[in-house]
Amino acid sequence: MVCKSIYVLLWFITLGNVSFLWGQTFAFRGVVLDKQTHQTLDYATVQLFVGKQIAYGGITDANGRFELPHIRPETYRVVVSYLGYDTVEKEVKVVQDISETFYLKSSATALNEVVVTASESKYAASASIIDRTAMKHLQPSSFSDLMELVPGGKSADPQMGQANLIRIRETGQTSTLSSLGVGFFVDGVSLNTDANLQYMPGSTSSVNATSTMAKGVDMRTLSTDNIEKVEIIRGIPSVAYGNVSNGAVIIQRKTSESPLSARFKADKTSKLFSVGKGIRLDGNGRYILNADVNYLDAKIDPRNSVKNYTRFTASARLDSKWLWNERNIHWNISTDYTGSFDDAKRDKDATVKEDAYKSDFNSLKVAGKWNMKFPDRSWIREINLTTSVSQQWEKMRETKSVSLNRPAAISIQKEEGESDGIYLPYNYVAQMEIDGKPLYVTAAARTRLAFPVGMLRNETNMGVEWNYQKNLGEGQVFDVTRPISESMSTRPRRFKDVPGLQPFAFYAEEVLHLPVQSHKLSLTAGVRLQSLLGLDSQYEMKGKVYPDLRLDLQWRLPAFNGWNITFSGGLGWISRMPTISQLYPDLKYVDLIQLNYYHTNPDYRRINMMTYKWDNTNYQLEPARNRKWEVRADIGYKGNRLSVTYFRERMNNGFGDLTYYKSLAYKLYDPSSIDGSTLTAPPELSELAYTDEYNLDVYSTVGNVMKMEKEGVEFQFSSKRIELLKTRVTVYGAWIKNIYSSDVPKYKASSILLDNKQLEYVGLYEGEEGTESQAFNTNFMFDTYLQRLGLTFSTSLQCTWYTNRRNLWNDGMPVSYIDQSGETYPFRAEDAENIQLQHLVEKYSATYFERTTVPFYMDVNLKASKRIGKYLNLSFYVNRILGIYPDYTLRGVLQRRTPESPYFGMEMNLTF
């Protein structure tokens, strides 16, 4: 059945029976096995009860064995529980040293249960848990496909030509912080992306669609085949998961022994192959090596063979467990390679053959985890140490044949000052390379402590985490005299020279369990302190510690008549540190034309520019902080389960564009005194009259300017499998409202030319600008499992009841304006009539703020998988086999919609 989190163990902590008896004691030993397979079960909980009171407790070791020494003679009720298995109870009379074997029945087989959807977490924070079975049935190509199973999600065709960014509790317009704010944790190690500086300035090709700079994880790069279980935390993650402002994705990969399995998948645009095995290296299963490789080749458009995406991943994970002095030691080392390659060329038949781009990502990661669990009588329960080193090699390369439409000059001046520009050749091949080599080092330590405090069961988690992130790449490499775009003003930058960052965190979390009669109250209160080390003293964040407080309360009602009801709620602040690209943006260059003298004779031409260069860093940047709260109800009745979450989130300092203005002085030479016919060389600047001019413009950098508000209801109902039809019904969906806005004063410069000049003023606007988006959707999933035939068949009706959006009201009036000398004046009503100033008023019409609603539409998806013989399993899926898109009227106009053509795929799984 539903996979319980590992933390279930934390609930079964003994109250610490300290009453010491003088009498004789015996040892109670045993082994816990899977009833079907007779495999040993490690980490199973064994508890000895006297009445309702726990007297003794322990955990099985890697070999499924447990030993409880010093047991007083008594008749005990032994309760053996294990995640995913039915709990076993047995009366045992201890009068001597005894040994017992317990057979546990898997909950899934017990209920004849196959869960092909996500299940809601049973803990306080809202989370979707997706296990192997669900993933198998979904037939994903990458992690992106799993998002269909999260409330609010629906199936989407793979978009392999661009970075796939995660969206949790999002609809409509979104921001890059949405995905940057989601942390991915693979086997307890964060997938750090903060030293990513890959983007190509000045490029007009779609190479930048592959950029994830300051956008978080590209889900395309994550294959799903070695994943055992995923937990997508939509609500408030534990303080153990930091540096997030939206949610967390916790990926747990396979570590157990498993047969050799291979998968071949083909769909409309891609082919996937994967093979993996969990090998037992020694007789008693102490060492298990999991190894797998995965290869994906996707054509972005099947009709176009020159654009494709390839992914190759390989992973080896060695897991070992042993018992040492009653302590369970668990040690895991892993090494992973991920290669992700975007490749696009121009059509072979096109006249321009040079145009091409590549975006390569290679990552090699070594991680080690060492965990020790202590016996339950110890106040220290667990120590966990994690380290990882990850080196990535990223390369974007674009080749572009540039043909100018008119002569264009560029400045190659690297420092501030006046210089003559050079005219670019009319035809040239430009090459630009972005070479990034992010290095990430992580070291973390965590401990779990337990002390009894009177009636309370109490547990404390504490941890520290240190990261080092640095980009060692050569950076933007290109010939400044052959820019990829003639309007580009970027100069090359070496990433090596960009300082590294060291995020540091400490956290402590207190978990209290308070039984009130037969009710169960659990309170989790945690604090996480985050700081960014290694910053220059100019930064506001330097030396500052940012605390995040997170609280969860869960109230489990006593079970009655088959009803299980739990209420929970949480409140928490979660913060995301800025990335290297945000803290160390590229230098800003502006080249202003002082003389543009294009004589018919090339020898007499002269273009003179004034170059300005400045640091575009916003030293005031602080972590983006989201305040979340949610209340949940979880109602179970005889295998049926409904869970509903209402949430609100608010962030006032999200990352967005912070504007500022600059008035830059330059000389405008008057060429009218030059007699072109008598020139023998380019005109001398010293002989020309000039006027002092100012270029007033608005620039932007990253600031804490974005406001985000989220509100919504997420729900999931899953029925028990209806025996007669062998069918289970799952209904899940969400109503989500997002508002992304900014009311931070904003400078805007007009883009027009008036009377041969740019506007002499820039405006300052204080109105709120933003959009509100809403969506309400529900997926109805019917899955039928015919065990005898080995057939699973599902139909999913994915209904979007409506989506809508509206622009937030804004009067468009500037509050003040700034002239070229930097002087600020209030904007008065009569200024709206001024020749120049009238262009600073943004005139909105009422319809602009009207809500635009798209009504109901529905897609029907089919999936089936069938076991054939001993080794083979065949699956296929068709998304949108049927689409219902009724016509509707928008502002008096009939809108006809047609569903996209179906998307289909099939796969073969071989298990030996």
């Binding site: 321009v352 100018l404 008119r406 009319y426 003298y597 273009i607 060429p671 319809t847 635009t852 106009v893």
Partner: protein, 402 residues
């Protein structure tokens, strides 16, 4: 070169029954039969009505004959014959009426016979003034086989018989495109003014830039020798005016005067719409209207609703009143054209560079106004405010023809 010409062959046949002369009057009258054939470059033009006026050169006696006429009685002598009439042609199922006229001098009527060879042409609407003679938008292929569009130009022609001054002549590009019709525009000003994205004006104090009758001048973005960049292109260094925006992506040829940019939607470079899906117009500010007053008072703020129902962001551009417009032409690929973006009074029709608006089809082609007739070597261009018939689509630009 094609001509709009209406050739009327009028045959005077001597009628019988004049053999018995009326003895002493000395002037013989003949029955003259007239038949007319129409030959025109406006496809399908039919003369529907009109009047021939035969004016006797000696007596100044006038005889009006209405069209169509087959037989009239005329005295022998020397005549000047004029024809003024109307013709129609069909455009998209609707009938369009135009005025036609023609003249032939010194026609001899003698003994009941004469030889009349009268060429009629379509009459231009309004007073003769500047007209847009040619618009070259798509540019050329360069050596690398890529599009090069720095060589766009517009030729403006003095279609009158007097010297006109280019000073203060306004050239503009419409803001709306002919290939995307809006469901609605609020406010809709199309019947009063053209919504414009750029307004550039020929400099001068009023008499600095005379243009002789039948002469034209060229305005362009870059008045340079484009052959330097692209051998397939043209030399525009002798163009009359260029527009220059102070930016490193533009160049300024000091030898060619810059146009006065009253307003332009962009502050980097202004390229004419190279797909050819906007309208272009020329006009003059009325007496007393200054640049300052124009840019202060003639902004146009609007929003539009797309066919999909989506509402646009607020737009702020300029407008140019229809009364100030001298000539306008709507351009739009035949397969994509959806509407005209100027009032019908300015242009009833539209012309095109290519039918399908592909680069391969458009490249190196222009739209060119047809010659209506030639008046003593001076070509008079056809201007009936209907660019469908007034322009030759997909023509070879004149500067390439040289």
């Amino acid at each position: 070169m094609k001509k709009n010409q209406l050739a009327l062959a009028v045959l005077f046949a001597a009628a019988l029954g004049f053999s018995a002369c009326s003895d002493d009057e000395g002037v013989s009258m003949s029955d003259v039969s007239i038949s007319a054939t129409v030959n025109t470059t406006i496809e399908g033009l039919q003369i529907t009505s009109g009047t021939y006026t035969f004016e006797n050169v000696n007596t100044s006696a006038k005889t009006d004959v209405s069209y169509p006429t087959s037989l009239i009685q005329l005295a022998d002598g020397l005549y000047n014959v004029t024809f003024i009439g109307k013709g129609t042609y069909s455009q998209n199922g609707t009938s369009v009426e135009v005025n036609v006229q023609g003249v032939q001098q010194n026609v001899t009527v003698s003994g009941g016979s004469c030889k009349l060879d009268l060429t009629a042409h379509v009459v231009n609407t309004g007073d003769a003034d500047f007209v847009i003679a040619e618009i070259f938008l798509p540019g050329t292929y360069n050596e690398a086989g890529k599009q090069y569009n720095g060589d766009q130009y517009v030729r403006i022609y003095n279609n009158s018989d007097t010297v006109l001054y280019a000073d203060g002549l306004v050239f503009m590009e419409s803001q709306f495109t002919t290939t995307q019709k809006y469901q609605s525009v609020d406010p809709d000003i199309m019947n009063e003014a053209i919504a414009v994205g750029s307004v550039v004006v020929v400099p001068g104090n009023g008499t600095d830039y005379p243009v002789q009758p039948g002469e034209s001048f060229i305005i362009c973005d870059n008045a340079i020798n484009h052959k330097e960049a692209n051998p397939n292109s043209i030399d525009l260094s002798n163009a009359n005016f260029e527009w220059y925006i102070e930016s490193k992506q533009d160049v300024d040829n000091p030898a060619v005067p810059n146009m006065d940019i009253y307003y332009c939607y962009t502050k980097t470079i202004w390229i004419l719409n190279k797909q050819g899906n906007r309208a272009y117009a020329i006009g003059r500010l009325p007496e007393g209207m200054t640049k300052e007053q124009y840019i202060a008072d003639y902004t146009y703020d609007y929003t539009y609703v797309l066919q999909s129902g989506t509402v646009s962001k607020p737009q702020s551009k300029y407008k140019f009143p229809n009364e100030w417009v001298i000539d306008a032409v709507n351009i739009g690929a035949t397969n994509e054209w959806q509407w005209n973006v100027t009032a019908t009074e300015l242009d009833m029709g539209h012309t095109y560079i290519g039918v399908n608006n592909t680069v391969a089809e458009n490249i190196g082609k222009c739209v060119m106004r047809k010659v209506a007739y030639t008046d003593n070597d001076r070509e008079v261009l056809q201007d009936t405010n209907n660019s469908t018939v007034d322009f030759t689509p997909a023509a070879t630009p004149s500067l390439f023809a040289e």
